[in-house]
């Protein structure tokens, strides 16, 4: 007996059951094509709406009502343009941003960039735990209980899960941002007016307004998100052929992120601004102030959104930072390794969570100062990262035909220069507070 007779029989068998397997396989493939790629863009953009971000958006709405809504459309474009560059670099080169910077610009620039990143991200992690503390107080839970629990949850989630499981949890967290949509509806805003202010820019040349605008832009585009997103696309093994899906993912991400911003501003604008409750310090205070104005549910939903956002960002930030540092410096990295194989990676990851949570637990910790400082640090770090990104995305030897197009470069450089100018203002005013109804110095 030989193999041919067997295969003949298999062939005959195949004819009889003609293709039940094949058909299901094909439809499933098409469906999965997009779903397989979606994730990094949506997650990154939404994490962007972290504790610090939500505080600034609430302040923007409380202090200026709908007057800053017009900035959402240009910010969406800026966010998309900058994020798309990273997505493209990740997909085309298959390397993370810190890897590319190391290979093309050498050891020393990478080292200092990464060191700055560690400091900045440390501040951001503390800010996220501050968000946890603020939101839990609205649910009448002491921060001495909520913050340690949050730290443990975050630590276990990431260390116990694989990338795919963790990503699913994160995608669910993205859905919870809908809390702000409900909360905005409960605030009964004047939708017509909100729509008008969104399309028609209203410029006011007073210091407070400009400062708020700067803070808004500065908090929307955070430097660490580029490292995270590029690494996520690389880790997800998204290839050249899936680039259109990756781009769609980034676009959906940046739009959904800004939609959430819109609803937060509308929510606080329709309530706090209208009732003259204009000087709030952070998102927690905004949530508390919402209760008497828009009802208990609006406030609770607002606080829930803040808790979700803080936890979400607190899980991603330390992970991303540890990755960036270890990859750039050549240490073993990634949650697929055991502790013994990658001690520096796990050490950094754990250390950031512990320090971030501990700072918040210090009695009378200056929470809003931490928020502000972390944003200032972001602002200083951002232009440097953007310039590196632009230089890399224009390298034909790395990107081939996927190098930045001319129009794209114009948009990207304008964004970069605008970001640099705006963040310089932000940094300046944070160091030398403007004697106006300044939103960034404590009232």
């Amino acid at each position: 007996m030989n193999r041919t007779s067997i295969t003949e029989r298999t062939e005959a068998w195949r004819e009889r059951v003609s293709g039940w397997g094949k058909r299901t396989r094909m439809t499933r493939r098409r469906l999965l094509l997009f779903l397989a790629v979606i994730g990094p863009g949506v997650i990154t953009s939404n994490v962007d709406n972290d504790a610090g971000g939500i505080s600034v958006y609430s302040q923007a709405g409380a202090q200026f009502g709908y007057m800053l809504l017009w900035s959402i459309i240009p910010m969406t474009i800026a966010l998309y343009v900058t994020e798309e560059m990273c997505a493209r670099m990740g997909v085309i080169t298959g390397k993370g941003l810190s890897d590319l910077i190391r290979e093309e610009f050498g050891f020393r620039p990478t080292f200092f960039l990464i060191l700055a990143g560690l400091v900045v991200d440390m501040g951001n992690v503390a800010a996220e735990f501050a968000g946890v503390a603020a939101s839990s107080q609205i649910f009448h839970v002491s921060k001495y209980i909520s913050v340690p629990i949050a730290a443990i949850v975050v630590w276990v989630l990431v260390l116990r899960g694989t990338y795919r499981q963790v990503e699913k949890v994160f995608l669910v967290a993205c859905v919870f941002y809908a809390a702000y949509v409900f909360s905005a509806f409960l605030a009964h805003p004047n939708w017509l007016q909100a729509a008008k202010y969104t399309v028609i820019p209203s410029m006011h040349l007073n210091a407070g307004y400009l400062l708020m605008l700067t803070a808004l832009v500065g908090t929307t585009i955070a430097p660490w998100q580029f490292f995270y997103m590029q690494a996520a696309f690389v880790e997800k093994r998204v290839g050249k052929k899936q680039y259109p899906q990756a781009r769609a993912d980034v676009m959906i991400g940046s739009i959904s992120c800004m939609v959430v911003v819109f609803f937060i501003i509308v929510c606080t604008g329709a309530t706090l601004y209208v009732h003259g409750h204009r000087n709030i310090v952070d998102a927690g205070e905004a949530a508390q102030a919402l209760v008497p104005l828009a009802g208990r549910w609006a406030g609770l939903l607002f606080a829930f959104g803040l808790l979700n956002a803080s936890l979400f960002a607190a899980s991603i930030l330390p992970l991303s930072t540890a990755h960036v540092i270890c990859e750039g410096m050549g240490f073993e990295a990634g949650i697929d390794h055991k502790f013994q194989e990658a001690p520096i990676f796990y050490g950094l990851y754990t250390g950031m969570i512990v320090v971030g949570a501990a700072v918040i637990l210090i009695p009378n910790a200056p929470l809003e100062k931490i928020l502000i400082l972390s944003q200032v640090a972001n602002g200083i770090w951002l232009p440097i990262v953007l310039v590196f990104m632009l230089l890399l995305a224009n390298r034909r030897d790395l990107m081939g035909e996927f190098v930045n197009s001319h129009t794209f470069n114009v948009v990207a450089w304008v964004t970069t220069v605008a970001m640099i100018a705006l963040t310089l203002i932000l940094v300046y005013t944070a160091i030398f507070p403007v004697p106006m109804p300044a939103i960034l110095s404590s009232p």
Binding site: M1, T7, R9, W13, G19, G21, T93
Partner: protein, 413 residues
């Protein structure tokens, strides 16, 4: 011992003691000698850079090179693809450590001086991938050399000997010029090789697959994460893909092809020899998560009345993969499934014994449309090594091996 970091940026003087320029790059010429620094590039600001040959070098110390010729004896620099640049091609780049079987990033290059009458040859001995190299790169030119050296002694060293360094070069022409053979990679276990490839970028992965022989490439591809396999096969010509895929077991080949676009997998199948293509086509009909999708159509089966000796001789005469052969299937006179004989029993059996006497109990088999769960349960319950898949006439059409089961259970987690 010297380090590339200490030499790059150093000053070069000619035999008359005149300053010539700064060392901007060190070149190896692997086609000539694998580890010797063959050329030193001397940058001179706005003047054209010069190149010193290895026999022009008379003295080397950290930060200084003294030549044994005058400046006018040096040539102007012209780029050469067959030179390996220490600064550009090695420092900060990823390499494969073939002894430690992983991908690492180069922090520094360690060099050894060899003095022969009047010249000093520099030979690359090892690459530094640890903290010592990192500290040097960071502090070079900022702190005093003495301080750097003292600090270095306190840090743990992580170095890889030059023989075990495998460069990653995606460009096939350059790979030939630099004599990168990837022979050491071919000697690695395919699973280790697959792990290494997963750490690299798309172009680098393709470069490695292209440089391996077809059999090794097939083994590595079969071990690789499915998404990479797909990406690599899709960028190959159908002929090349077919050459590699026909080296795989039919079930592995079917798994690879099932993930491709239907047109692509059709093209590849057309390039494959008739027998192999038919086997794979047959397997492609089954849903991936059924017994049919898991089975391999290459298995050994004999008549139940055959004697042990006949069977052993028959196996010997065939091209059977002995690494994975753990059971022989039995069929009766009507070609229906009649049992399984473990190879261990075959080994110790009397030459004249009939196969039917050696078969294991109980008679376990599965239909091709059984789902994964049923297959796993059977393996677990009866502690199977392999399981035969039968059509509705009880005729064997394939077999599922325990390693496929483990792989799938692992993926499900």
């Amino acid at each position: 011992m010297l380090h590339a970091t200490e030499l790059l940026g150093g000053e070069a003087y000619d035999s008359a003691g005149n300053f010539v320029g700064r060392v901007t790059e060190l070149f190896l010429e692997p086609a000539d000698q694998p580890n010797r620094v063959a050329r030193v590039l001397l940058g001179r600001g706005r003047y054209l850079p010069l190149v010193a040959r290895h026999d022009h070098i008379g003295f080397v110390a950290p930060g200084v090179i003294k030549l044994n010729v005058e400046e006018k004896a040096l040539d102007y620099y012209g780029p050469n693809e067959s030179w390996l640049a220490v600064g550009k091609d090695l420092l900060d780049q990823q390499i494969i450590d073939t002894s430690g079987r992983k991908v690492v990033r180069v922090n520094d290059i360690d060099l050894e001086e060899q003095r022969t009458d009047g010249t000093v040859e520099l030979r690359v001995t090892q690459v530094d991938v640890g903290l010592t190299g990192a500290a040097r790169r960071l502090l070079q030119g900022l702190a005093s050399p003495g301080l750097i050296r003292r600090l270095q002694h306190k840090l743990p060293t992580r170095v890889i000997r030059w023989e075990f360094v495998n460069l990653i070069e995606p460009d096939p022409l350059r790979r030939v010029k630099l004599r990168i053979t990837n022979q050491q990679l071919a000697r690695m276990h395919p699973a280790d090789l697959a792990d290494i490839m997963e750490e690299l970028s798309t172009a680098e992965r393709q470069g490695i697959i292209a440089s391996l022989d077809e059999e090794t490439a097939a083994e590595a591809l079969a071990e690789l994460d499915k998404r990479f396999t797909k990406e690599i096969v899709e960028t190959m010509t159908p002929e090349k893909a077919a050459d590699i895929i026909e080296e795989m077991d039919p079930d592995q080949a079917a798994d690879v092809l099932a993930d491709l676009a239907p047109e692509t997998s059709q093209e590849v199948l057309e390039e494959m020899p008739g027998n192999e293509a038919r086997d794979v086509r047959a397997l492609l009909q089954f849903e991936g998560d059924t017994a049919g999708g898991m089975m391999n159509t290459e298995f050994v089966y004999v008549g139940e009345t055959a004697r042990r000796d006949e069977v052993v001789n028959w196996i010997r005469s065939r091209d059977v993969n002995l690494e994975s052969l753990d059971s022989v299937f039995l069929v009766n006179g009507e070609a229906r499934f009649a049992g399984v004989v473990a190879v261990g029993r075959l080994l110790l059996a009397d030459p004249e014994q009939q196969m039917v006497e050696l078969k294991s109990d109980p008679l376990v088999s599965v239909r091709p449309d059984a789902n994964e769960k049923e297959v796993f349960d059977l393996f677990d319950k009866y502690n199977l090594r392999s399981l035969s898949v039968l059509d509705e006439n009880s005729r064997p059409i394939g077999s599922i091996a325990v390693d496929d089961v483990i792989t799938r259970m692992h993926q499900e987690r």
